[in-house]
């Protein structure tokens, strides 16, 4: 496992990454026979209790699915994310955050195109008598989900009104509920790229074709969930952030897809039709309601030989969803805030997709942190998601909740809060009085500056910095060594 950065950059597929994880002791094969329900869910939940070190789990003996393989927890721990970024196991969340933040905006995309006949994803192709249940070893993710969900699909589509524009291709993660052998519903909202494209296609009466990519380059799963601009290509962005080439090919219905994915489902929107969808156990840890959602008809499926179906456990945290998207929710907010306020030193929006965020800032004047908090609410992600914000000083690590609690205990007055009523809110926040509308909370846990009469307390200054970080890791390694 020498030269982790080069090994990470050489990944081109899920299989490559599973190999890397296995070499690092971060992937296991569950070859004991399991039932789809409740065994797969139980094992995935048990694994996700260890947010730092959980391995990916590959199932290859699922009752009723002979010969089929299922992977869960591929992005299910910080150690797995560290290996994806070319960093060793044990890298702290704070270090991973700055690894991502440091890559932001200063790398170039490397995209290459593979002829369809040479693309591994097209090794096997089905165009008739398609039954998704015969291809995917699905399981009910949460007990009261309305059906069998594909929870980790990267869905690629072209703008139905501008299909030749590469940049306007959208790749996003959307939940898909299987609705019979060759149909599925897709849940989205008008502000998401896919929601915009569905509405545009239906308004104009033009077809909307999509390609659902399963078992992908692990970098895409991370970056397809990152909120970037509509005209930015997620492929280019993922390649730039990984510092590695991405191989694309064409799906049978003309969409750019990853050449090395495990499975591609090609489908077409049924214009104007809606079918009952849900509930689904979502990232706030509660079920969404039942709604009528757009439905897609499957037109073809391509897959590699012996494909691996990659899926996720999502529900009440901590789950793979949190490690998959946490840092890439935090890093864009950090970058966008620093354009206006270079005093911002870190952003921790790991909790429930940023429903709670902690921002550290060099406080320039009394009340300054509150101003920064208000700017955070107007970032693209903040508009809908940042519900509770805790502002701390730059001497507090927002990724260390013990330090955050210290700041709350010693630097917060009861009137150092702001409540902004009746703001936009993500519709699946279970605390909202009305779905889609709710209150925001800002807690200023920064220290007091003039003209505040109290001023800063005389602080104890324990040793900090890289030397202490290294000592801390060394103690942990010695402890693990003593156990083995």
């Amino acid at each position: 496992m020498n030269d982790l950065p080069n090994r990470a950059r050489s990944i081109s597929s899920l299989r490559d990454f599973l190999g890397l994880l296995e070499d690092a002791g971060q992937a296991i094969t569950w070859n004991e026979r399991v039932m789809p329900e409740p065994d797969v869910r139980n094992i995935a939940v048990a694994a996700s209790r260890d947010a730092n070190g959980a391995p990916a789990i590959l199932f290859d003996n699922i009752a009723g699915y002979p010969g089929k393989r299922l992977a869960v927890g591929v992005h299910g721990s910080w150690d797995n994310i560290a290996l994806l970024l070319g960093r060793p196991k044990g890298t702290t969340i704070r270090e991973l955050f700055f690894e991502i933040a440091g890559r932001w905006g200063d790398a170039e995309a490397q995209i290459s195109f593979v002829p369809e006949a040479q693309a591994p994803v097209h090794e096997c192709r089905l165009e008739q008598d398609i039954n998704l249940y015969d291809i995917l070893p699905v399981y009910r993710i949460n007990e009261y989900d309305g059906g069998f969900y594909i929870g980790k699909a990267s869905v690629a589509s072209r703008d139905p009104l501008d299909p030749d524009d590469f940049g306007k291709q959208n790749v996003g993660i959307y939940r898909l509920q299987i609705q019979g052998p060759d149909s599925f519903t897709l849940m989205t909202i008008p502000s998401h790229d896919m929601g915009r494209q569905i509405m545009a296609a239906e308004r104009a009466g033009v077809p909307l074709k999509i390609a659902v990519m399963l078992g992908n380059h692990p970098g895409l799963a991370v970056f397809a969930a990152t909120p970037i601009g509509y005209e930015e290509s997620e492929y280019a962005y993922a390649s730039a952030m990984m510092g590695a080439p991405i191989r694309l090919t064409k799906s049978g219905n003309g969409i750019d897809i990853l050449a090395d994915s495990e499975i591609i489902i090609e489908a077409e929107l049924q214009l104007g039709e809606r079918e009952l969808e849900g509930p689904f156990g979502e990232f706030p840890g509660s079920y969404s309601g039942v709604r009528k959602a757009p439905i897609f008809k499957v037109t073809a499926v391509s897959h590699r030989r012996d494909p691996i179906f990659e899926n996720i456990y999502i529900g009440r945290g901590w789950t793979e969803h949190d490690t998959l998207i946490g840092l890439h929710t935090s890093a864009p907010i950090y970058a966008q805030l620093r354009q206006s306020f270079p005093e911002v030193t870190a952003v921790n929006a790991l909790y429930q997709h940023g429903l709670t965020g902690i921002i550290s800032v060099k406080n320039r004047m009394a009340g300054f942190a509150k101003t920064v908090a208000l700017r955070a609410l107007s970032t693209p992600h903040g508009v809908m998601y940042l519900k509770n914000l805790i502002m701390v000083d730059a001497d507090v690590d927002p990724f260390d909740l013990n330090q955050v609690m210290w700041a709350l205990s010693t630097r917060t007055r009861a009137d150092d809060i702001i409540v902004l009523p009746n703001m936009p809110a993500v519709p699946i926040d279970p605390s909202a009085v009305v779905p889609g509308k709710g209150h925001r909370l800002i807690i200023d846990a920064t220290s007091y500056l003039p003209p505040d009469p109290v001023g800063e307390a005389h602080l104890v200054t324990p040793p900090t910095g890289a030397e202490i970080d290294e000592l801390s890791k060394r103690i942990r390694e010695m402890q693990l060594g003593a156990m083995s």
Binding site: R140, G146, P190, G289
Partner: protein, 74 residues
Amino acid sequence: MTATVCPRCKSGDPITDYEGKQDGATVWTILRCPTCNFSWRDSEPASAIHPVSRSTDFAVDAGNLRRYPKILQQ
């Protein structure tokens, strides 16, 4: 086990979507309700698929499907 009613909305006539087979025998069957779209596997725990043991919090009112909102309205 052959289901005659949907565990969620109690409507009849579920559709068989797939049978999971192993060594020539059917291990389980996936069914779908044509009224409320609930899909289930007949091998799941009773708390999820038995019409009596299943929590009524997640029931769907087959007589009033209009109450469920439609997303992405123009």
